[in-house]
Amino acid sequence: MLSVPHLLGIKYLNRDDVGKILHTAETFLDVINRPIKKVPSLRDITVVNLFFENSTRTRLSFELAEKRLSADVINFSASSSSVSKGETLVDTVNNILAMKVDMVVMRHPKPGAAHFLSQRVDARIINAGDGAHEHPTQALLDAFTIQRKLGSLEGKKVVIVGDILHSRVALSNIYCLKLMGAEVMVCGPPTLLPRYISSLGVLVETDLKKALEWCDVANMLRIQLERQEIQYFPSLREYAMLYGLNSKILEGLKKEITIMHPGPINRGVEITSDVADGPHSVILNQVESGVAVRMAVLYLLAGRAEDKM
């Protein structure tokens, strides 16, 4: 049903694919809000969640999506596995697949890990984040949340604020939003903006106030302290002063904007608690959308008719 056998990144999808995923997610959102939240579509499928990096939201969201589709689920985390004994990625996955697993959801710290795996193993691969490269399901759920809130993505102005340099969410969001006809701006300290980012067709701004005046939606990214091998800004306090979103800035804007955050939130750094929990925030809607969007991705990849599992 999708033009690709795996979901490795938004880069590999076309507009029709994203449209199908968002359409299908709409019906799954309806399903997960019913008294009985389960459908039997993947009852003959086994999925492994392979997490080589920490995750709460994404792993739980994928696991719930798989269970809501009636798939059999096994979970794997690198810290408690033979990876710590030196086993390679391909060996680990092939051993799991020998137990008759059909789909692999993988998060890995290395960019391109999902792509690498897709060329070497015989299973559907879903990238749940590969280093600073892509996080396609996060971008899809962000697009879905915007579409539900604003009606469509076409012509909407979205600013992505914060650590663009280390963010896989930013790259996937840029691809996805541009594909669906939205205008995208990135905003952050110059040290955290990749030098050639404008070649992706996005606007670049270093003044948060100007960026917020321009946009319909602001997606506030987390400062990824774990990926910062050198100091990109003087202090978190200074970052919060220049790029943190608070209610004072929000009230000073000429129009109402929608606030998003992929989580986990550093409260008081990129966003204050009153904004994160305020009426313009759709952060918890994003989490709800996440399950529906991941159900849609799993369903559509499992349903590819031309290459049966």
Partner: protein, 177 residues
């Protein structure tokens, strides 16, 4: 082979009135009954029958639309995108009339019966179909109300043509055409 018209608009009008009277005979004032149109092609028929029923009864008839895509057993052979389901009430103890246009192998209705369970436990479920292709059943399910019965071979297809929400005609066409 030229398409052969097996049901004209005039005939359908008479048939729809017959459906409504049969339904009222069984379901009385429809206070505890509900019409559910099966997505995608049973919905127009269900809406049309509901409209006439409401005129005859003089009050609203409970109505919903059901999509059974996620409950189908063939989604991996035949890629299907889901449609919307809108049933804004619980089906507990209600008498449900499922409505579809063409009843063929019975697999869609089997899936619909499973999908229905997500919305409660109906007191009874009946099936109303416009066209019954009776020689093609894969599962032991039969309709309770039938428009016309057609003995078509597998290479033929029954095509229900709608003009917006008004039935234009039903024709029998060769699948290759």
């Amino acid at each position: 082979m030229q398409p052969r018209i097996i049901l004209s608009q005039e005939h359908y009008r008479i048939m729809q009135t017959r459906f409504c009277h049969q339904l009222i005979e069984k379901h009385d004032d429809f206070k505890s009954s509900v019409i559910i149109g099966l997505q995608p092609r049973g919905v127009n028929l269900a809406c049309s029958i509901r409209k006439e029923l409401e005129q005859l009864l003089g009050h609203e008839v409970k109505y919903g639309e059901l999509d059974s895509t996620f409950f189908r057993d063939d989604f991996r052979q035949k890629p299907l995108l889901p449609q919307s389901t809108s049933i804004d009430f619980l089906l507990d103890d209600l008498r449900v009339i499922l409505v579809d246009d063409v009843f063929f192998t019975g697999r869609s209705v089997r899936a619909a019966l499973d999908a229905l369970q997500q919305h409660g436990r109906p007191a009874e479920v009946e099936l109303l179909v416009l066209i019954d292709r009776r020689l093609a059943r894969h599962v032991p399910i039969q309709p309770d109300y039938t428009g016309i019965t057609v003995d078509a071979i597998f290479s033929e297809k029954v095509k229900v043509v709608w003009n917006d929400t008004i039935l234009s005609h039903v024709e029998l066409v060769n699948k290759d055409q």
